[in-house]
């Protein structure tokens, strides 16, 4: 059983997100995530798992209740502070969002340059990241020349350019074969072992069960089950 700590890294308290008058993204969600934890948000499409991640990235801004990251309430971040907030987290979008006309190396270099790194830093850091996510040998390839798994690795690599303490991945194995999905999860696990807090929204139950990590089940915007607080623990959990 995973214990809930007294000073959580991420804390949702009675969070409610409403789209329009009658559609709810989240209803009365309360949960905590510790620093260095690895947790899955699972549920059907439209259940609210992506909304949880988007609250943390401030893509979803209107909510009631409280969402705290490292002790700071997220609605205290104004528009001008969001860039700074994003640099404290790595975001892996569902569609990879790779630049099709740039090679793998340039995709990372572009992102690093955009956040203000010098060319020298780029030359040093990009090969390290590509090795870390195991696509160093494809540095000169264009995204369309990569497999789905390799594209996902590049997207994860790009999310690491700021050395973030938090990694958010939205359906990282959505369109991948089971074997490749497992490889991606192992990569995320490796990053977690290096101290990164990893939150993954996914409905790939087969892989999730085998990971043996915390699983938070969301249904119709509410937390249906949380393995960390006495919910069902799946086979293979550590």
């Amino acid at each position: 059983m995973i214990e809930v700590a007294q000073s959580p890294f991420i804390q949702f308290d009675n969070v409610q997100v409403q789209y329009g008058k009658i559609v709810f993204g989240l209803r009365d969600v309360s949960l905590c995530v510790e620093k260095g934890e690895f947790a899955f948000f699972v549920g059907k499409t439209g259940a609210g798992k992506s909304t949880l991640l988007k609250l943390l990235t401030r893509e979803v801004r209107d909510y009631t209740g409280s969402v705290k990251l490292a002790g700071r309430e997220l609605n205290t971040y104004k528009d001008r502070h969001i860039a700074g907030l994003r640099r404290t987290m790595g975001i892996v979008p569902q569609d990879f969002a790779l630049l099709p006309r740039k090679r793998v190396w340039d995709n990372l270099a572009y992102a690093m340059r955009a956040v203000g790194h010098s060319k020298k830093e780029v030359r040093k850091r990009v090969p390290e990241i590509l090795e870390l996510v195991k696509v160093g040998h494809r540095a000169d390839a264009f995204p369309h020349e990569l497999s789905g798994g390799e594209q996902q690795r590049v997207a994860i690599g790009r999310a690491l350019i700021n050395n973030p303490p938090l990694l958010l991945a939205d359906e990282p194995t959505g369109n991948l074969d089971p074997e490749i999905s497992w490889e991606i999860m192992e990569l995320l696990l490796d990053l977690n072992k290096l101290g990164t807090t990893v939150l993954v929204a996914s409905h790939d139950m087969m892989v999730i069960h085998r990971m043996g990590k915390r699983i938070i089940t969301i249904d119709q915007g509410t937390v249906l089950n949380d393995s960390a607080i006495g919910g069902e623990l799946f086979a293979g959990q550590a």
Binding site: E59, I82, G84, R86, A97, L99, A114, V115, S118, R158
Partner: protein, 295 residues
Amino acid sequence: MLDKLEFLFSESFKTFRRNGLMTFAAISTVAISMFLLGGLGYTYYRVNEYAQNTFPHQFTMEVFLKKGTTYEEIKQTAQQIRAVPGVESAVLIPKEKAYPKLLKDMNVPGLAEDKDIPIQDKFDLVLKDISEEGSATIASQIEALPTAGAGSVQYMREEQRFLDQFLGLLRLLGSLVGALLFATAGILIYNAIRLTIVSRRLEIRVMQLVGASRFTIQVPFLFEGVFQGAIGGTFASLILLVTYKVLAQAIVAFDVFGALPDFPLWPIMGGLAAAGALYGFFSSFMALSSPLRYR
């Protein structure tokens, strides 16, 4: 710092290639509107300058003094007239000098020169301001002098009115055509930037995902607008130069006004490029206001 600037510049130049047709449309419209605006502005300036330099000597104002004005009063009046704002010079034409000339001009042999001279002393005035309104103000101030009086001032009121109307029409025409074209150029720059934003939405999304500042995301688009405006303004000055040369040759050939002065290329190029850049900045700033909000 240089590293950062290089990144921002390279980003802004990328769209020149990628969004070439729209960029071309924006630059050419800025160039044409600036050409017409600059051309009309320069024509107005030249005509106005020509009028100011030439017409005052043709549009002289005459002030006839009352009969019996003494020499002392004439001296005092001369001082008063020269002190009126807008009067460049005032030359006394004594009746003793004017009358023989008048007789000679009229060719009337029967009038004896020893009779009482029937005309008055007068001043011939050259004015700095030859507008109808300016002349009327000067005339009324002079008519208020005791040695002059109502009706003592004569000038070419109608001719000045015509000149005023002509310059006014030129100004109105320039403003209307220029404003229309200027607005069109602004809309085109705005649209070019909007299209660029659409064509680069993935890059923008990536930048927002990794936490690039709004400054980094927006500045390339602002640069692009500034470049479009500045290049348009520069082209406009070059077209103006060519047009001016052609016109100058025609004017010399027809010998209407004599030779035109040299075209001041550098000040005009600098002015139009700066105006274009400023306008490009404004148009792209308007285009950026909402679509680049952090999402």
